[in-house]
Symmetry: C2
Subunit: 485 residues, 2 copies
């Protein structure tokens, strides 16, 4: 650098948080040179600029430049039912399942696009999207231009059969009957998805396998899914110990709690992305970490739907790597990694009764480089380092809650990002060197059109749900009728 | 209404959350008529509009109209040190005190204006501001046009003497020596402030008395302050049981924990706004509620600086009224009541290990009508009802995290406001019928000028703090030096 290089793009001025090294990697008055979608120079402005020239310069004066955020686990299409599933117990059977069953598959790509737009506007550049039908949803990722590690999910649980379960005496909270054909079709779709989409768009799209959870599919299918993933050298994205129902189900089926059961099947390994671990005992947390699996914490979602703080601190203490996820909007209620950063930091303090656990610098790494490693793409994104893809965001340091930006004798940028920023100061998002969002506009997608599509889909969902008389006793319907909400 | 009335302003279309009644007071497709700064009509659009006309109409189509939020407790001027005091124990002596001692009184009005702008942009219309020198700071409130219930605070604790304390062997965590002359001057200033400013600007400014805390001033001065407040028929704004140091100090001085000590002095009564109650035992919580005092919960601040969940649920169960406060930006790190709503709801669930406590509809009432009652102005603001001041905000329902807005069979507006909204969707803020903020701009204040003033003040603060060698061992300075932040 500084040797007469010509950059495609030079991002110049402002401060950097590179995430290189052990901390946040602060560089005052820095610059980033981008060439062929990759970072080819990063550091102090004087060094990066030298006598180099650039075809395009992005002025980052008064901005903070940092890696794009990693949302390591979300169900993008469920945003259509935002805010509909919470404050009940059990959440899945008393709210999410019956209400979201009315969301049409045909509308799912519209919802996914909306969720991704929300995430990108809040600084996320990579989504670990776990939703179906992914064959349709993946087009929304490609269209918006973000990076994604996707799976459609493999499950033998079919909510379309709920009326039949109810007729058979099933009540919310009971283990749900499994539908093997449903699961087989999902596995086949997942393998087909991998065949067609893995590596698409210069690697922006990766496909992994998503066996849903120990209680959502049979042991046979869990083992087959793991075999297929290992044969392809890809990760598995699995909900692990997500609630008490999961342990109850595996105890009934196999006499083991969920984590020992998964271990007995050989599912716990370095290729596993273990989501939640909400009900894991300390020994189970240590076991998952010892097997080399990675963890995703969805702090707000699990807090809202179960009142639980996932064992992030324990997993990290056992040497495990943790990323952050926004999970699902019916009970989160947003796709915003800034909100997740604040939550994981705050909940850890409250759980410990001390201000000391989970300091901001650890949390900002979980939202960037560690999240990237959790998704298996830490060699390509998650930090601003030479050779990595140019996935980065610019934030406005001249507005609350980032202003005043203080540098001496202590810097306040990282604490304010974690404890206060909401995403509204994100001014620009770049993926593989391409600007996909700037100053409130999406470069590839028309917001007005996306909103019109969403609004029409939301009307279809409301019409369908409103016509279902079995929903009238749900708690959130009651709260609506009584005028509380 | 509908009888040929002429409104000054008609806010028409969109949905309302009035907070009238027991819940959120939802009205579909509503309207609000404003005359002489007051609400004269509110309800369904067809009823309010009737054959009335308006000199000005604000189109609220696609918007949510609700009461302006109440930030019942903040220290506005401390925003200059945003993010500087957290992740340490004890917070006051190891971070806030020594760092913020370098903030110049002359710069305080600049900082206050910035904090208020942050709050207003996030939907707050009333601030319970507790900061000094209020005689100077109150001008910032008047300038921006918000409503405020202010006090400068009465304290015998003088951080300017810290070097002398240290020389005398004082260490952080020890009770701080009291300076009676400092306290007397503060009380005199407070009474003078009341005399000059109470009721200013058509009642937008109210002045109450702010004895700081049981450990920050002597019993004599606490009792005198209470007498002066009662003689004037105004409230007292007091930090109560805010940390373990307070109990230790009152135990040493009077042999009683803070709350019994305050009760022995006759301080607990219906005129008391009791802030925090962080260390209150269940019996103490019940005592404060039984005496008729009101509570302010600063969930994020207390979570960050102490890892504690204030006893909101217990205080409410004892029949007490609770408002929300943003407290102080060095350890919050924002003045944003949406962030406080989410925190108080989430922390209650986590503390209880259940998704059921502190539902969204209760929380949105704490941020509006209950917060107004806590500040003693619930008869004038906090809900959209005829005869009340027109203090209200409009939010954009067409953007995440409020879109899609679902109405049938369940409404998601209140849950999404509480669990997801960050304030970025606030499009307009009105106080006493006057628009003070719209579409990102402040009507009375130039943002560029305010930023320039803030930036200059922040440089002065950094220069002063950077020149103080006693700060070099502070934890946040260490984190900066090591490159963690």
């Amino acid at each position: 650098m500084g040797d007469g290089s010509v950059y495609d793009t030079l991002i110049s001025g402002g401060h950097l948080l590179t995430m290189a090294g052990e901390g946040a990697g602060f560089v005052a008055d820095g610059a980033v040179g981008v060439e062929g979608g990759k970072i080819v120079a990063v550091g102090p402005r004087a060094v990066v600029e030298g006598n180099a020239t650039a075809r395009r310069t992005i002025d980052a004066t008064g901005r903070l430049v940092m890696p794009g955020l990693i949302d390591a686990h979300l169900h993008s299409a469920s945003v259509i039912g935002r805010g509909w599933a919470q404050e009940v117990q059990p959440w899945m059977a008393s709210a999410y399942g019956p209400l979201m069953a009315h969301a049409a598959d045909a509308d799912a790509p519209i919802a996914t696009l909306w969720a991704l737009m929300e995430g990108v506007a809040n600084g996320t550049t990579t989504f670990g999207d776990y939703d179906a039908p992914m064959e349709a949803l993946v087009h929304s990722h490609v269209r918006l231009g973000n990076r994604a590690v996707v799976c459609g999910g493999i499950s033998e649980l079919n909510w379309a059969n709920r009326a039949a379960w109810l007729a058979d005496g099933w009540t919310p909270g009971d283990p749900t009957p499994l539908d093997r054909a449903h699961g087989e079709a999902a596995l086949a779709a997942e393998l087909d998805l991998h065949e067609r989409w893995h590596g698409h768009d210069g690697g922006r799209i990766s496909v992994i396998l998503g066996p849903h959870a120990a209680d959502f599919l049979s042991g046979e299918l869990l083992v087959r899914a793991a075999g297929e993933a290992r044969r392809r050298g890809i990760s598995m994205h699995l909900h692990v110990a997500q609630d008490v129902r999961e342990n109850e189900a595996t105890l009934r089926r196999a006499g083991l709690r969920a984590i020992p059961y998964l271990d007995s099947l050989g599912l716990l390994g370095p290729d596993l992305i273990a989501v939640h671990l909400s009900t894991a005992t300390p020994d189970e947390v240590a076991l998952v970490a010892a097997r080399g699996a990675r963890m995703v914490c969805c702090a707000n979602s699990i807090g809202i739907i179960d009142g639980v703080v996932p064992p992030v601190a324990a997993f990290q203490a056992a040497g495990g790597l943790v990323g952050l996820g926004s999970d699902q909007a019916p009970g989160n209620n947003s796709h915003n990694i800034f909100a997740e950063m604040r939550a994981v930091a705050m909940f850890a303090k409250i759980a410990a009764g001390s201000p000391l656990p989970m300091p901001a610098w650890r949390v900002v790494r979980m939202a960037t480089i560690e999240g990237a490693r959790v998704l298996g793409i830490g060699d390509r994104v998650g930090s601003l380092e030479e050779g990595k893809e140019a996935d980065l965001i610019l934030l406005d340091l001249d507005r609350p809650p980032l202003a005043p930006a203080l540098l001496r004798p202590a810097r306040n940028l990282v604490p304010n990002l974690v404890y206060a920023e909401s995403g509204r100061n994100v001014r620009l998002s770049m993926v593989a060197g391409e600007v996909i969002y700037a100053d409130g506009e999406f470069l590839r997608v028309d917001r007005t059109e996306a909103l019109a599509d969403l609004t029409a889909a939301a009307i279809r969902l409301q019409n369908a749900a409103d016509a279902d008389p079995t929903l009238s006793g749900l708690p959130i319907v009651e709260l609506t009728r009584s005028g509380r909400i």
